[in-house]
């Protein structure tokens, strides 16, 4: 008799527990920086889940964009806006109620959707199918960006063929949009100094 440890399931459970537990901690903690820390843990655990599923590109993106970028920005926001050290946030009971309602209904919808798809539950799949899915994902994703879908080499329906033209243009549009948003946010977040005293006489600047 042997005690076999299912490493895959074990790590899945560990990561999923970490993600859910840290997400709860984000909601329940009162200190903004602790919230940021728990958010890092939660997002990092989700990245671990991606790695576990064999999606190393998506997992790395999760680390880079969400864990790295967003959290650094969040900490920046906290530091630039905090009026006193260790900001505490108290949530009113009515807000708790509304938040719980919204959260619970979203959970119900997602739960129902997740359980209704047969493929996601792993029914009717062989081990070979799963191994075929564990191929590297970076190259197909990159090719799909420029319109080459290796998973669908030929689309029989000509009406759907237009949808396979690649994601490069939407991607660029979104990037430019994000840059605009970023510049706007930087402009809004700049400290606006109200002149309390009449402005000092401007000395003519000597050319440097």
């Amino acid at each position: 008799m042997s005690v076999a440890i299912q490493w895959h399931s074990l790590f899945f459970l560990l990561m999923a527990l970490a993600a859910c537990g840290a997400a709860l901690a984000v909601v329940l903690s009162a200190n903004v920086v602790r919230m940021a820390f728990w958010l890092v843990v939660s997002l990092g655990a989700v990245a671990g889940l991606f790695f576990l599923a064999g999606a190393d590109l998506v997992g790395t993106l999760q680390l880079m964009v969400y864990v790295g970028g967003t959290l650094v920005l969040l900490v920046f926001g906290v530091m630039l806006t905090a009026r006193q050290p260790f900001v505490d946030m108290r949530t009113a009971p009515t807000q708790w109620l509304v938040a719980a309602l919204v959260g619970a209904s979203l959970l119900a919808v997602l739960w129902q959707a997740a359980l209704s798809v047969d493929r996601w539950a792993g029914r009717g799949q062989t081990l070979a199918d799963r191994q075929a899915q564990a191929e590297p994902t970076a190259a197909p994703l990159g090719l799909a960006l420029v319109g080459v879908r290796v998973d669908k080499p030929d689309q029989a329906d000509p009406r759907l063929r237009d949808g396979m033209a690649g994601y490069l243009l939407p991607f660029e549009v979104i990037s430019v949009h994000l840059v605009v948003v970023l510049i706007g946010a930087a402009h809004l977040a700049r400290a606006k100094r109200r002149p309390t005293s009449p402005e000092p006489p401007q000395t003519p600047r000597t050319p440097e």
């Binding site: 920086v33 602790r34 820390f37 864990v67 790295g68 970076a138």
Partner: protein, 372 residues
């Protein structure tokens, strides 16, 4: 390795093979990181001493002070572990370990010789850059949780600096990736086999210039002088580390040296052929897996030595820089990044792109084609 171990074990014990393989990889990488830290600690004292026209450590463990790192380690372990009264205790205690976890996780994807890598990844370069950028979180948390103004200033500076320098660093790393046509570090290294003229730094003038931008950004991203504004011992006491003492303080140092080595190795693989020596000695001696598994192993060992030497040259360069150049001001740091490094890296990317389009085989292939 797990596959190899599985051949010795019955089917139902496959989990044991995975456990053993993981344990061996982690243990090897941990020993490597700790040895890097110990040697760097000694080397930093020695190099600092020599650059300042003094001797550095001379007594502990013989003539050159070889055992200085051990003595330092013992001293740090026996120091009191203080937590300031105004600190956020939980985050304060956790921050050094976060830092070290981030810089140690980079080693997961760094190949040490052809195929000698804990986790082969086809997006290894991207993974290394993403994980190396997470070290900043530990520093920010340390700066914030200390409840001290010096620490907060250090953390803020670190955040501003690392976030800015990630952009040119990623742009510079994209250029050798584009030249090699892959993000797999093992593949990038193997493509530069066969002598120093095959290294990507000599691929075209743009990659040559890119390396120097990469070097600047790498020094900045691991917080070494002249970019050590987060620490800045002469103005901010010790920046984000002001309130730390004893073991937790030394964990920050382990993280710093570990990420210095990681970024040096990344540069060595991207630009300097990785485990391929300046002359193709291993293939001349026939040390490849095709001849004999043992010969392949010896070739791997030679490659490991090559890579360690290159990585260490990077570390020594950073130490030389630290004790030579004065620290930059924070606005100068930002100017260097935004006004010089990013435009330069972008121009290099464009130039390398055009070069790859015009001369796909690189300069040497073009010269050979022209000659023959």
């Amino acid at each position: 390795m797990a596959e190899y171990l599985k051949t010795f074990l019955p089917e139902s014990y496959a989990w044991l093979a995975y456990t053993a393989a993981a344990a061996v990889h982690v243990a090897l990488l941990f020993v490597l990181a700790m040895m890097i830290v110990a040697v760097s600690n000694w080397a930093e004292r020695k190099i600092a001493g020599r650059l300042q026209d003094r001797l550095g450590p001379t007594r502990v463990g013989g003539r050159f002070g070889w055992l200085q790192s051990v003595a330092d380690g013992l001293k740090l372990l026996t120091k009191e572990d203080l937590v300031p009264a105004g600190a956020d205790r939980f985050l304060f205690r956790l921050a050094p370990y976060l830092c070290f976890c981030a810089s140690f996780s980079v080693y997961l994807a760094l190949p040490m010789a052809s195929g000698w890598v804990a986790q082969p990844m086809n997006v290894a370069v991207f993974f290394v850059l993403a994980v190396a950028g997470l070290e900043v979180l530990g520093v920010i948390l340390a700066g914030y949780a200390s409840g001290s103004k010096w620490s907060l200033f250090g953390g803020m500076r670190e955040a501003a600096q690392v976030v800015s320098y990630e952009v040119p660093l990623a742009l510079c790393a994209a250029i050798p990736v584009m030249v090699a046509g892959t993000m797999d570090l093992v593949e990038i290294g193997n493509r530069q086999a066969g002598g120093f003229w095959q290294w990507q730094i000599f691929h075209d003038p743009f990659t040559f210039l890119t390396f120097f931008v990469f070097l600047t950004c790498a020094v900045a991203s691991v917080n070494r002088a002249p970019f050590d504004l987060a620490e800045a011992e002469s103005e901010l006491v010790a920046g984000f580390m002001t309130e730390y003492s004893g073991f937790r303080w030394s964990v920050f140092f382990m993280a710093e040296y570990a990420s210095m080595f990681a970024v040096s190795v990344l540069g060595a693989i991207l630009f300097f052929g990785g485990w391929n020596g300046p002359l193709p000695v291993a293939s001349l001696l026939g040390l490849t897996c095709e001849n004999h598994p043992l010969a392949g192993y010896l070739g791997g060992l030679l490659g490991l030595c090559n890579l360690l030497v290159k990585g260490y040259l990077g570390i020594i360069f950073m130490m030389w820089l630290r004790w030579t150049l004065p620290r930059l001001r924070i606005d100068q740091v930002m100017t260097v990044c935004l006004k010089y490094c990013i435009p330069l890296a972008a121009a290099m990317l464009l130039g390398a792109m055009l070069w790859c389009y015009a001369l796909p085989g690189g300069l040497w292939a073009a010269v050979e084609n022209f000659g023959g």
